[in-house]
Amino acid sequence: MPLLQSADWPLLIDLYFFLAGLAGGAFVIATIAHLVGGPRSREVVRVGYYLSLLALIPCPLLLVVDLGIPSRFLHMLMVTKPDPTIGAAAINIGPFHIKLFSPMNMGAWALLGFGVLAFLAALSVFLEDAKRGRNLWALRTTVGVIGGFFGFFLAAYPGVLLGATARPLFQNASFLGALFLAVGASTGAAAIALILSFLGQEAGETLGRLRQIIIPVLLLQAATLALFLLRVGMSGGEGAAQSLALLLSGPYSLVFWVGAVAVGLIVPFALQVASRQPGLAAISAALILVGGFLVKYVIIAAGQAVLS
Protein backbone atom coordinates (compact mmCIF):
# COMPACT_ATOMS: atom_id res chain seq x y z
CA MET A 1 0.00 0.00 0.00
CA PRO A 2 1.54 3.33 -1.00
CA LEU A 3 1.85 5.86 1.77
CA LEU A 4 -0.82 8.52 1.54
CA GLN A 5 -1.78 11.39 3.74
CA SER A 6 -5.18 12.76 4.51
CA ALA A 7 -6.59 16.26 4.78
CA ASP A 8 -8.47 15.03 7.86
CA TRP A 9 -11.40 17.29 7.18
CA PRO A 10 -13.45 17.38 10.38
CA LEU A 11 -17.19 17.20 11.07
CA LEU A 12 -17.51 20.88 10.13
CA ILE A 13 -16.90 19.98 6.51
CA ASP A 14 -19.37 17.08 6.58
CA LEU A 15 -21.92 19.51 7.97
CA TYR A 16 -21.11 21.98 5.20
CA PHE A 17 -21.50 19.32 2.51
CA PHE A 18 -24.84 18.35 4.06
CA LEU A 19 -26.19 21.91 4.31
CA ALA A 20 -24.92 22.96 0.88
CA GLY A 21 -26.55 19.88 -0.68
CA LEU A 22 -29.79 20.54 1.18
CA ALA A 23 -29.79 24.21 0.13
CA GLY A 24 -29.12 23.34 -3.50
CA GLY A 25 -31.73 20.54 -3.54
CA ALA A 26 -34.42 22.67 -1.88
CA PHE A 27 -33.73 25.51 -4.32
CA VAL A 28 -34.04 23.28 -7.39
CA ILE A 29 -37.31 21.77 -6.12
CA ALA A 30 -38.72 25.22 -5.33
CA THR A 31 -37.77 26.44 -8.82
CA ILE A 32 -39.44 23.50 -10.56
CA ALA A 33 -42.52 23.86 -8.34
CA HIS A 34 -42.57 27.53 -9.31
CA LEU A 35 -42.20 26.82 -13.01
CA VAL A 36 -44.75 24.02 -13.45
CA GLY A 37 -46.53 23.62 -10.11
CA GLY A 38 -49.12 26.38 -10.35
CA PRO A 39 -50.88 27.83 -7.30
CA ARG A 40 -51.18 24.46 -5.56
CA SER A 41 -47.39 24.30 -5.13
CA ARG A 42 -46.99 27.82 -3.78
CA GLU A 43 -46.09 26.65 -0.31
CA VAL A 44 -43.30 24.46 -1.69
CA VAL A 45 -41.86 27.50 -3.47
CA ARG A 46 -42.09 29.71 -0.38
CA VAL A 47 -40.64 27.18 2.04
CA GLY A 48 -38.06 25.95 -0.47
CA TYR A 49 -36.54 29.37 -1.17
CA TYR A 50 -36.56 30.46 2.48
CA LEU A 51 -35.07 27.16 3.57
CA SER A 52 -32.42 27.33 0.88
CA LEU A 53 -31.16 30.68 2.12
CA LEU A 54 -31.34 29.67 5.78
CA ALA A 55 -29.39 26.45 5.18
CA LEU A 56 -26.82 28.39 3.20
CA ILE A 57 -26.06 31.04 5.82
CA PRO A 58 -23.85 28.86 8.06
CA CYS A 59 -21.98 27.38 5.08
CA PRO A 60 -19.27 30.01 4.48
CA LEU A 61 -18.69 30.24 8.22
CA LEU A 62 -18.12 26.49 8.50
CA LEU A 63 -15.60 26.64 5.66
CA VAL A 64 -13.75 29.68 6.96
CA VAL A 65 -13.45 28.31 10.49
CA ASP A 66 -11.91 25.10 9.14
CA LEU A 67 -9.08 26.91 7.30
CA GLY A 68 -5.58 26.89 8.76
CA ILE A 69 -5.57 30.67 8.34
CA PRO A 70 -9.23 31.78 8.36
CA SER A 71 -8.39 35.40 7.52
CA ARG A 72 -7.16 34.22 4.12
CA PHE A 73 -10.55 32.86 3.02
CA LEU A 74 -10.64 35.31 0.11
CA HIS A 75 -7.57 33.60 -1.38
CA MET A 76 -10.02 30.93 -2.59
CA LEU A 77 -11.13 33.50 -5.20
CA MET A 78 -8.43 36.15 -5.46
CA VAL A 79 -4.91 37.04 -4.46
CA THR A 80 -3.17 40.38 -4.80
CA LYS A 81 -0.20 38.98 -6.68
CA PRO A 82 -1.31 36.01 -8.78
CA ASP A 83 1.19 33.60 -10.27
CA PRO A 84 0.67 32.62 -13.93
CA THR A 85 1.72 28.99 -13.44
CA ILE A 86 -0.94 27.63 -11.07
CA GLY A 87 -2.35 24.79 -13.13
CA ALA A 88 -3.32 23.35 -16.49
CA ALA A 89 -6.78 24.92 -16.71
CA ALA A 90 -6.31 28.02 -14.56
CA ILE A 91 -7.66 31.36 -15.72
CA ASN A 92 -6.29 34.52 -14.15
CA ILE A 93 -8.44 37.63 -14.54
CA GLY A 94 -6.83 40.52 -12.72
CA PRO A 95 -6.58 39.46 -9.10
CA PHE A 96 -9.15 36.67 -9.54
CA HIS A 97 -8.42 33.10 -10.49
CA ILE A 98 -10.70 30.37 -11.81
CA LYS A 99 -9.25 26.84 -11.74
CA LEU A 100 -11.50 24.60 -13.79
CA PHE A 101 -9.92 21.39 -12.52
CA SER A 102 -9.87 22.41 -8.87
CA PRO A 103 -13.37 21.58 -7.64
CA MET A 104 -12.68 23.46 -4.41
CA ASN A 105 -11.97 26.68 -6.32
CA MET A 106 -15.02 26.16 -8.55
CA GLY A 107 -17.09 25.36 -5.45
CA ALA A 108 -16.03 28.61 -3.80
CA TRP A 109 -17.21 30.55 -6.86
CA ALA A 110 -20.45 28.55 -6.95
CA LEU A 111 -21.07 29.26 -3.28
CA LEU A 112 -20.67 32.98 -3.93
CA GLY A 113 -22.98 32.91 -6.97
CA PHE A 114 -25.56 30.71 -5.31
CA GLY A 115 -25.50 32.92 -2.22
CA VAL A 116 -26.53 35.96 -4.26
CA LEU A 117 -29.25 34.04 -6.14
CA ALA A 118 -30.62 32.32 -3.02
CA PHE A 119 -30.85 35.74 -1.38
CA LEU A 120 -32.72 37.20 -4.37
CA ALA A 121 -35.12 34.23 -4.49
CA ALA A 122 -35.86 34.51 -0.77
CA LEU A 123 -36.29 38.26 -1.22
CA SER A 124 -38.86 37.69 -3.96
CA VAL A 125 -40.85 35.45 -1.59
CA PHE A 126 -40.56 38.03 1.16
CA LEU A 127 -41.79 40.83 -1.12
CA GLU A 128 -44.70 38.71 -2.26
CA ASP A 129 -45.64 37.92 1.34
CA ALA A 130 -45.48 41.62 2.18
CA LYS A 131 -47.56 42.33 -0.95
CA ARG A 132 -44.92 44.80 -2.06
CA GLY A 133 -43.75 43.30 -5.30
CA ARG A 134 -45.21 43.47 -8.75
CA ASN A 135 -44.25 41.34 -11.68
CA LEU A 136 -42.10 39.19 -9.45
CA TRP A 137 -42.75 36.20 -11.72
CA ALA A 138 -40.15 37.21 -14.30
CA LEU A 139 -37.50 37.99 -11.68
CA ARG A 140 -38.17 34.79 -9.80
CA THR A 141 -38.07 32.70 -12.95
CA THR A 142 -34.73 34.19 -13.99
CA VAL A 143 -33.21 33.87 -10.53
CA GLY A 144 -34.77 30.44 -10.05
CA VAL A 145 -33.49 28.92 -13.27
CA ILE A 146 -29.95 30.29 -13.02
CA GLY A 147 -29.88 29.53 -9.29
CA GLY A 148 -31.15 26.03 -10.03
CA PHE A 149 -28.03 25.28 -12.03
CA PHE A 150 -25.90 26.67 -9.22
CA GLY A 151 -27.94 24.61 -6.75
CA PHE A 152 -27.24 21.41 -8.64
CA PHE A 153 -23.56 22.35 -8.80
CA LEU A 154 -23.40 23.07 -5.08
CA ALA A 155 -25.00 19.74 -4.22
CA ALA A 156 -22.75 17.69 -6.49
CA TYR A 157 -19.34 19.37 -6.41
CA PRO A 158 -18.27 18.07 -2.97
CA GLY A 159 -18.45 14.56 -4.40
CA VAL A 160 -16.38 15.54 -7.44
CA LEU A 161 -13.97 17.33 -5.09
CA LEU A 162 -13.44 14.14 -3.10
CA GLY A 163 -13.06 12.17 -6.34
CA ALA A 164 -10.16 14.43 -7.31
CA THR A 165 -7.97 13.29 -4.42
CA ALA A 166 -5.55 10.39 -4.10
CA ARG A 167 -7.60 8.67 -1.36
CA PRO A 168 -8.47 5.23 -2.78
CA LEU A 169 -12.11 5.21 -1.65
CA PHE A 170 -12.72 8.54 -3.41
CA GLN A 171 -10.35 8.29 -6.36
CA ASN A 172 -11.89 5.06 -7.63
CA ALA A 173 -15.48 6.10 -6.93
CA SER A 174 -16.69 8.03 -10.04
CA PHE A 175 -20.24 8.23 -8.62
CA LEU A 176 -19.66 10.40 -5.54
CA GLY A 177 -20.85 13.57 -7.27
CA ALA A 178 -23.95 11.80 -8.57
CA LEU A 179 -24.62 10.35 -5.12
CA PHE A 180 -24.15 13.67 -3.33
CA LEU A 181 -26.50 15.34 -5.79
CA ALA A 182 -29.19 12.72 -5.13
CA VAL A 183 -28.67 13.15 -1.37
CA GLY A 184 -28.97 16.93 -1.78
CA ALA A 185 -32.27 16.51 -3.62
CA SER A 186 -33.66 13.98 -1.13
CA THR A 187 -32.65 16.02 1.93
CA GLY A 188 -33.89 19.24 0.31
CA ALA A 189 -37.28 17.70 -0.46
CA ALA A 190 -37.46 16.04 2.96
CA ALA A 191 -36.66 19.30 4.75
CA ILE A 192 -39.42 21.10 2.83
CA ALA A 193 -41.84 18.27 3.65
CA LEU A 194 -40.90 18.35 7.32
CA ILE A 195 -41.44 22.11 7.58
CA LEU A 196 -44.75 21.92 5.71
CA SER A 197 -46.03 19.17 7.94
CA PHE A 198 -45.14 21.29 10.99
CA LEU A 199 -46.89 24.30 9.49
CA GLY A 200 -49.84 22.05 8.71
CA GLN A 201 -50.85 24.16 5.73
CA GLU A 202 -52.70 22.28 3.04
CA ALA A 203 -50.44 19.48 4.09
CA GLY A 204 -52.26 16.66 2.39
CA GLU A 205 -51.99 17.69 -1.22
CA THR A 206 -48.63 19.45 -1.08
CA LEU A 207 -47.07 16.57 0.81
CA GLY A 208 -48.49 14.24 -1.79
CA ARG A 209 -46.57 16.07 -4.49
CA LEU A 210 -43.40 16.08 -2.43
CA ARG A 211 -43.90 12.38 -1.89
CA GLN A 212 -43.91 11.91 -5.65
CA ILE A 213 -40.45 13.47 -5.87
CA ILE A 214 -39.05 11.98 -2.65
CA ILE A 215 -39.72 8.39 -3.74
CA PRO A 216 -37.83 8.53 -7.08
CA VAL A 217 -35.01 10.60 -5.57
CA LEU A 218 -34.52 8.05 -2.79
CA LEU A 219 -34.35 5.37 -5.48
CA LEU A 220 -31.70 7.44 -7.26
CA GLN A 221 -29.82 7.80 -3.97
CA ALA A 222 -29.89 4.03 -3.48
CA ALA A 223 -28.82 3.39 -7.08
CA THR A 224 -25.90 5.84 -7.03
CA LEU A 225 -24.81 4.47 -3.64
CA ALA A 226 -24.80 0.94 -5.02
CA LEU A 227 -22.94 2.06 -8.17
CA PHE A 228 -20.38 3.84 -6.00
CA LEU A 229 -19.72 0.69 -3.97
CA LEU A 230 -19.57 -1.49 -7.09
CA ARG A 231 -17.28 0.92 -8.91
CA VAL A 232 -14.78 1.08 -6.02
CA GLY A 233 -14.97 -2.67 -5.50
CA MET A 234 -14.31 -3.50 -9.14
CA SER A 235 -11.77 -0.75 -9.83
CA GLY A 236 -8.79 -2.81 -8.73
CA GLY A 237 -7.12 0.45 -7.68
CA GLU A 238 -4.33 0.32 -5.12
CA GLY A 239 -5.90 0.39 -1.65
CA ALA A 240 -9.46 0.43 -3.02
CA ALA A 241 -10.47 -2.96 -1.62
CA GLN A 242 -8.92 -2.14 1.74
CA SER A 243 -10.66 1.21 2.10
CA LEU A 244 -13.95 -0.29 0.94
CA ALA A 245 -13.63 -2.94 3.64
CA LEU A 246 -13.32 -0.16 6.26
CA LEU A 247 -16.71 1.09 5.13
CA LEU A 248 -18.54 -2.18 4.62
CA SER A 249 -17.16 -4.47 7.32
CA GLY A 250 -14.68 -2.43 9.34
CA PRO A 251 -15.04 0.24 12.02
CA TYR A 252 -17.42 2.34 9.91
CA SER A 253 -19.75 -0.50 8.92
CA LEU A 254 -22.23 -0.01 11.76
CA VAL A 255 -22.85 3.64 10.93
CA PHE A 256 -22.97 2.80 7.25
CA TRP A 257 -25.35 -0.18 7.27
CA VAL A 258 -27.54 0.79 10.22
CA GLY A 259 -27.41 4.59 10.00
CA ALA A 260 -26.96 5.48 6.33
CA VAL A 261 -28.63 2.48 4.69
CA ALA A 262 -31.28 0.99 7.04
CA VAL A 263 -32.50 3.93 9.13
CA GLY A 264 -31.60 6.65 6.66
CA LEU A 265 -32.71 5.11 3.38
CA ILE A 266 -34.73 1.86 3.55
CA VAL A 267 -37.02 2.75 6.48
CA PRO A 268 -37.99 6.22 5.19
CA PHE A 269 -38.48 4.81 1.70
CA ALA A 270 -40.78 2.07 3.05
CA LEU A 271 -42.71 4.66 5.07
CA GLN A 272 -43.20 6.86 2.01
CA VAL A 273 -44.37 3.97 -0.14
CA ALA A 274 -46.58 2.28 2.46
CA SER A 275 -48.46 5.21 3.90
CA ARG A 276 -49.81 8.64 3.00
CA GLN A 277 -50.43 9.59 6.59
CA PRO A 278 -48.88 13.04 7.32
CA GLY A 279 -47.44 11.92 10.66
CA LEU A 280 -45.52 9.06 9.11
CA ALA A 281 -44.44 11.31 6.24
CA ALA A 282 -42.88 13.67 8.78
CA ILE A 283 -41.04 10.82 10.49
CA SER A 284 -39.85 9.61 7.10
CA ALA A 285 -38.64 13.10 6.20
CA ALA A 286 -36.70 13.38 9.46
CA LEU A 287 -35.06 10.00 8.82
CA ILE A 288 -34.09 11.08 5.28
CA LEU A 289 -32.28 14.07 6.77
CA VAL A 290 -30.45 11.83 9.26
CA GLY A 291 -29.56 9.36 6.52
CA GLY A 292 -28.41 12.10 4.15
CA PHE A 293 -26.00 13.42 6.72
CA LEU A 294 -24.75 10.00 7.79
CA VAL A 295 -24.08 8.72 4.28
CA LYS A 296 -21.84 11.71 3.56
CA TYR A 297 -20.23 11.59 7.00
CA VAL A 298 -19.42 7.89 6.94
CA ILE A 299 -18.04 7.84 3.39
CA ILE A 300 -15.79 10.82 4.14
CA ALA A 301 -14.65 9.34 7.46
CA ALA A 302 -13.87 5.93 5.95
CA GLY A 303 -12.11 7.50 2.95
CA GLN A 304 -9.89 9.62 5.18
CA ALA A 305 -9.01 6.83 7.62
CA VAL A 306 -5.40 5.67 7.79
CA LEU A 307 -4.58 2.70 5.55
CA SER A 308 -1.82 0.37 6.67
Binding site: D66, R72, K99, F101, A156
Partner: protein, 255 residues
Protein backbone atom coordinates in the same frame (compact mmCIF):
# COMPACT_ATOMS: atom_id res chain seq x y z
CA UNK B 1 11.61 29.35 -18.44
CA UNK B 2 14.95 28.04 -17.45
CA UNK B 3 16.02 24.51 -18.20
CA UNK B 4 14.17 21.96 -16.05
CA UNK B 5 16.21 20.68 -13.14
CA UNK B 6 15.87 17.30 -11.47
CA UNK B 7 17.00 15.10 -8.65
CA UNK B 8 17.96 11.52 -9.43
CA UNK B 9 17.92 9.14 -6.47
CA UNK B 10 19.77 5.90 -7.18
CA UNK B 11 18.77 3.45 -4.43
CA UNK B 12 21.53 1.01 -5.38
CA UNK B 13 23.99 3.48 -3.86
CA UNK B 14 21.98 4.36 -0.73
CA UNK B 15 23.55 3.20 2.55
CA UNK B 16 20.79 4.55 4.79
CA UNK B 17 22.97 7.12 6.58
CA UNK B 18 20.25 9.75 6.53
CA UNK B 19 22.70 12.58 5.88
CA UNK B 20 20.15 13.89 3.36
CA UNK B 21 17.42 13.91 5.97
CA UNK B 22 19.61 15.85 8.39
CA UNK B 23 20.94 18.25 5.76
CA UNK B 24 17.38 19.00 4.68
CA UNK B 25 16.34 19.75 8.25
CA UNK B 26 19.34 21.99 8.81
CA UNK B 27 19.16 24.01 5.61
CA UNK B 28 15.41 24.48 5.80
CA UNK B 29 15.52 25.09 9.56
CA UNK B 30 12.97 22.39 10.29
CA UNK B 31 12.50 21.44 13.91
CA UNK B 32 13.39 18.02 15.22
CA UNK B 33 10.43 15.78 15.95
CA UNK B 34 9.83 13.05 18.51
CA UNK B 35 11.09 9.79 17.03
CA UNK B 36 8.47 7.10 16.65
CA UNK B 37 8.77 3.33 16.59
CA UNK B 38 7.69 2.13 13.16
CA UNK B 39 8.86 -1.46 13.48
CA UNK B 40 11.91 -0.75 11.31
CA UNK B 41 14.81 1.68 11.37
CA UNK B 42 12.69 4.13 9.43
CA UNK B 43 11.94 7.37 11.18
CA UNK B 44 9.44 8.93 10.73
CA UNK B 45 6.66 6.73 9.39
CA UNK B 46 5.77 9.27 6.70
CA UNK B 47 6.51 12.78 5.51
CA UNK B 48 5.53 15.51 7.93
CA UNK B 49 5.45 19.29 7.84
CA UNK B 50 8.96 19.17 9.32
CA UNK B 51 10.39 16.22 7.35
CA UNK B 52 10.79 16.82 3.63
CA UNK B 53 13.41 14.12 3.01
CA UNK B 54 12.74 10.69 4.43
CA UNK B 55 14.93 7.61 4.12
CA UNK B 56 12.73 4.57 3.79
CA UNK B 57 13.90 1.31 5.40
CA UNK B 58 11.48 -1.11 3.79
CA UNK B 59 11.88 -4.66 5.04
CA UNK B 60 11.32 -7.37 2.45
CA UNK B 61 11.80 -11.13 2.51
CA UNK B 62 14.07 -12.47 -0.24
CA UNK B 63 13.63 -15.82 -2.05
CA UNK B 64 15.20 -17.77 0.86
CA UNK B 65 13.02 -16.01 3.43
CA UNK B 66 15.85 -13.88 4.78
CA UNK B 67 15.14 -10.26 5.66
CA UNK B 68 16.51 -7.65 3.26
CA UNK B 69 16.35 -3.90 3.25
CA UNK B 70 15.00 -1.73 0.51
CA UNK B 71 16.66 1.58 1.27
CA UNK B 72 15.45 4.67 -0.51
CA UNK B 73 15.73 8.35 0.19
CA UNK B 74 12.24 9.60 -0.61
CA UNK B 75 11.28 13.17 -1.41
CA UNK B 76 8.65 15.28 -3.16
CA UNK B 77 8.57 14.15 -6.79
CA UNK B 78 7.93 17.62 -8.27
CA UNK B 79 5.60 15.93 -10.77
CA UNK B 80 5.27 17.39 -14.26
CA UNK B 81 1.51 17.01 -13.75
CA UNK B 82 1.14 17.66 -10.05
CA UNK B 83 -2.01 16.72 -8.14
CA UNK B 84 -1.31 19.21 -5.36
CA UNK B 85 -0.79 22.06 -7.79
CA UNK B 86 -3.97 21.35 -9.74
CA UNK B 87 -5.99 20.87 -6.54
CA UNK B 88 -4.89 24.08 -4.81
CA UNK B 89 -7.90 26.44 -4.85
CA UNK B 90 -5.85 29.52 -3.96
CA UNK B 91 -3.07 29.37 -6.53
CA UNK B 92 -0.54 29.11 -3.71
CA UNK B 93 1.06 26.07 -5.33
CA UNK B 94 2.88 27.08 -8.48
CA UNK B 95 5.46 25.79 -10.91
CA UNK B 96 8.78 27.55 -10.71
CA UNK B 97 10.89 28.60 -13.67
CA UNK B 98 13.02 25.49 -13.03
CA UNK B 99 10.06 23.12 -13.42
CA UNK B 100 9.78 22.37 -9.70
CA UNK B 101 6.59 22.66 -7.63
CA UNK B 102 6.46 25.05 -4.71
CA UNK B 103 3.96 26.25 -2.10
CA UNK B 104 3.83 30.03 -1.72
CA UNK B 105 3.47 30.36 2.04
CA UNK B 106 2.16 33.92 1.67
CA UNK B 107 -0.91 32.66 -0.21
CA UNK B 108 -1.69 29.22 1.29
CA UNK B 109 -4.72 29.41 3.58
CA UNK B 110 -4.57 25.91 5.01
CA UNK B 111 -7.52 24.20 3.28
CA UNK B 112 -5.50 20.93 3.13
CA UNK B 113 -6.89 19.85 -0.25
CA UNK B 114 -3.33 19.34 -1.56
CA UNK B 115 -2.59 16.97 1.34
CA UNK B 116 -5.30 14.60 0.13
CA UNK B 117 -4.51 15.16 -3.54
CA UNK B 118 -0.84 14.08 -3.50
CA UNK B 119 -0.52 10.54 -4.92
CA UNK B 120 2.70 10.06 -2.91
CA UNK B 121 1.61 11.35 0.52
CA UNK B 122 4.22 14.09 0.41
CA UNK B 123 2.38 17.28 1.28
CA UNK B 124 1.72 17.72 5.02
CA UNK B 125 -0.21 20.24 7.06
CA UNK B 126 1.68 22.38 9.56
CA UNK B 127 -0.57 22.95 12.55
CA UNK B 128 1.72 25.69 13.90
CA UNK B 129 1.63 27.91 10.83
CA UNK B 130 -1.76 26.72 9.54
CA UNK B 131 -0.30 26.06 6.10
CA UNK B 132 0.67 23.14 3.94
CA UNK B 133 4.36 22.44 3.51
CA UNK B 134 6.62 20.17 1.53
CA UNK B 135 10.05 19.98 -0.08
CA UNK B 136 10.87 23.23 -1.89
CA UNK B 137 13.67 21.68 -3.98
CA UNK B 138 15.73 24.14 -1.90
CA UNK B 139 14.32 26.97 -4.00
CA UNK B 140 16.61 29.49 -2.31
CA UNK B 141 19.72 27.46 -3.12
CA UNK B 142 18.48 26.90 -6.66
CA UNK B 143 18.24 30.64 -7.25
CA UNK B 144 21.85 30.95 -6.14
CA UNK B 145 23.19 28.29 -8.44
CA UNK B 146 23.41 25.57 -5.81
CA UNK B 147 21.76 22.18 -5.84
CA UNK B 148 19.44 21.03 -3.06
CA UNK B 149 21.01 20.42 0.36
CA UNK B 150 20.18 16.69 0.36
CA UNK B 151 22.08 16.07 -2.89
CA UNK B 152 25.01 18.13 -1.62
CA UNK B 153 25.18 16.10 1.61
CA UNK B 154 24.79 12.62 0.12
CA UNK B 155 28.17 10.88 0.62
CA UNK B 156 27.59 8.14 -1.95
CA UNK B 157 26.04 10.25 -4.71
CA UNK B 158 22.86 8.25 -4.36
CA UNK B 159 21.12 11.61 -4.71
CA UNK B 160 22.28 13.58 -7.72
CA UNK B 161 21.23 17.00 -8.87
CA UNK B 162 21.38 18.37 -12.40
CA UNK B 163 19.49 19.27 -15.53
CA UNK B 164 16.71 16.80 -16.15
CA UNK B 165 17.70 15.68 -19.64
CA UNK B 166 21.32 15.03 -18.62
CA UNK B 167 20.34 13.17 -15.46
CA UNK B 168 17.80 11.04 -17.33
CA UNK B 169 20.44 9.93 -19.82
CA UNK B 170 22.76 9.07 -16.93
CA UNK B 171 19.99 7.14 -15.19
CA UNK B 172 19.19 5.08 -18.30
CA UNK B 173 22.85 4.14 -18.62
CA UNK B 174 23.07 3.22 -14.95
CA UNK B 175 20.04 0.93 -15.06
CA UNK B 176 21.59 -0.98 -17.98
CA UNK B 177 24.81 -1.42 -16.02
CA UNK B 178 22.92 -2.75 -13.00
CA UNK B 179 20.96 -5.20 -15.13
CA UNK B 180 24.22 -6.51 -16.55
CA UNK B 181 25.45 -6.94 -12.98
CA UNK B 182 22.46 -9.18 -12.27
CA UNK B 183 19.94 -6.85 -10.66
CA UNK B 184 17.09 -8.08 -12.81
CA UNK B 185 14.41 -5.91 -11.19
CA UNK B 186 16.42 -2.68 -11.61
CA UNK B 187 14.11 -0.07 -13.07
CA UNK B 188 13.62 3.65 -13.37
CA UNK B 189 10.64 5.27 -11.66
CA UNK B 190 9.35 8.58 -12.99
CA UNK B 191 12.08 9.17 -15.56
CA UNK B 192 9.75 8.70 -18.55
CA UNK B 193 8.15 11.99 -19.53
CA UNK B 194 5.44 10.09 -21.40
CA UNK B 195 4.76 7.96 -18.32
CA UNK B 196 2.51 8.56 -15.31
CA UNK B 197 2.10 12.22 -14.26
CA UNK B 198 4.14 13.38 -17.25
CA UNK B 199 7.29 12.23 -15.52
CA UNK B 200 8.71 13.15 -12.14
CA UNK B 201 11.34 15.83 -11.69
CA UNK B 202 12.64 13.82 -8.75
CA UNK B 203 12.96 10.35 -10.24
CA UNK B 204 14.39 7.14 -8.88
CA UNK B 205 16.33 4.04 -9.78
CA UNK B 206 14.77 1.12 -7.90
CA UNK B 207 16.05 -2.43 -7.41
CA UNK B 208 12.59 -3.85 -6.74
CA UNK B 209 9.04 -3.16 -7.85
CA UNK B 210 7.77 0.28 -6.78
CA UNK B 211 5.46 -1.10 -4.08
CA UNK B 212 8.57 -2.57 -2.42
CA UNK B 213 9.51 1.03 -1.63
CA UNK B 214 6.05 2.22 -0.62
CA UNK B 215 5.53 3.88 -4.01
CA UNK B 216 2.31 3.52 -6.00
CA UNK B 217 2.70 1.23 -9.03
CA UNK B 218 0.63 3.49 -11.24
CA UNK B 219 0.30 6.98 -9.77
CA UNK B 220 -2.60 8.88 -11.30
CA UNK B 221 -3.39 12.56 -11.55
CA UNK B 222 -6.47 12.87 -9.30
CA UNK B 223 -7.90 15.65 -11.48
CA UNK B 224 -8.30 13.20 -14.37
CA UNK B 225 -11.47 12.11 -12.57
CA UNK B 226 -13.11 15.55 -12.66
CA UNK B 227 -14.55 15.23 -16.16
CA UNK B 228 -16.21 11.81 -15.78
CA UNK B 229 -17.38 12.47 -12.22
CA UNK B 230 -18.95 15.73 -13.42
CA UNK B 231 -20.71 14.02 -16.34
CA UNK B 232 -22.19 11.41 -13.99
CA UNK B 233 -23.30 14.23 -11.67
CA UNK B 234 -25.04 15.93 -14.60
CA UNK B 235 -26.79 12.64 -15.37
CA UNK B 236 -27.96 12.48 -11.77
CA UNK B 237 -29.13 16.11 -12.00
CA UNK B 238 -31.13 15.39 -15.16
CA UNK B 239 -32.93 12.52 -13.44
CA UNK B 240 -33.76 14.68 -10.43
CA UNK B 241 -34.95 17.49 -12.72
CA UNK B 242 -37.20 15.24 -14.78
CA UNK B 243 -38.53 13.57 -11.63
CA UNK B 244 -39.40 16.94 -10.10
CA UNK B 245 -41.05 18.15 -13.32
CA UNK B 246 -43.27 15.05 -13.37
CA UNK B 247 -44.09 15.33 -9.67
CA UNK B 248 -45.05 19.01 -9.73
CA UNK B 249 -46.65 19.44 -13.15
CA UNK B 250 -50.09 20.97 -12.78
CA UNK B 251 -52.13 18.58 -14.91
CA UNK B 252 -52.07 14.89 -15.56
CA UNK B 253 -50.45 14.02 -12.22
CA UNK B 254 -51.58 10.91 -10.37
CA UNK B 255 -53.13 12.92 -7.54
Amino acid sequence: MARTVAMFTDVSLCIGCRACQVACKQWNQLEAEEPEWTGTYQNHAHFTDKTYRLVRFMEEKDDKGALTWNLMSDVCKHCAQAGCLEACPTGAIYRTQYGTVNINQDICNGCRYCVSACPFGVVAFNHDTGRASKCTFCNDRLHNGLGPACAKACPTESIQFGFRDELAAKARKRVEELKKMGYKDAQLYGEDQNGPLGGLNAFFLLLDKPSGYGLPEKPRLPQNNVFVDSLLSIGSALLVGVGALVAFRERGGKE
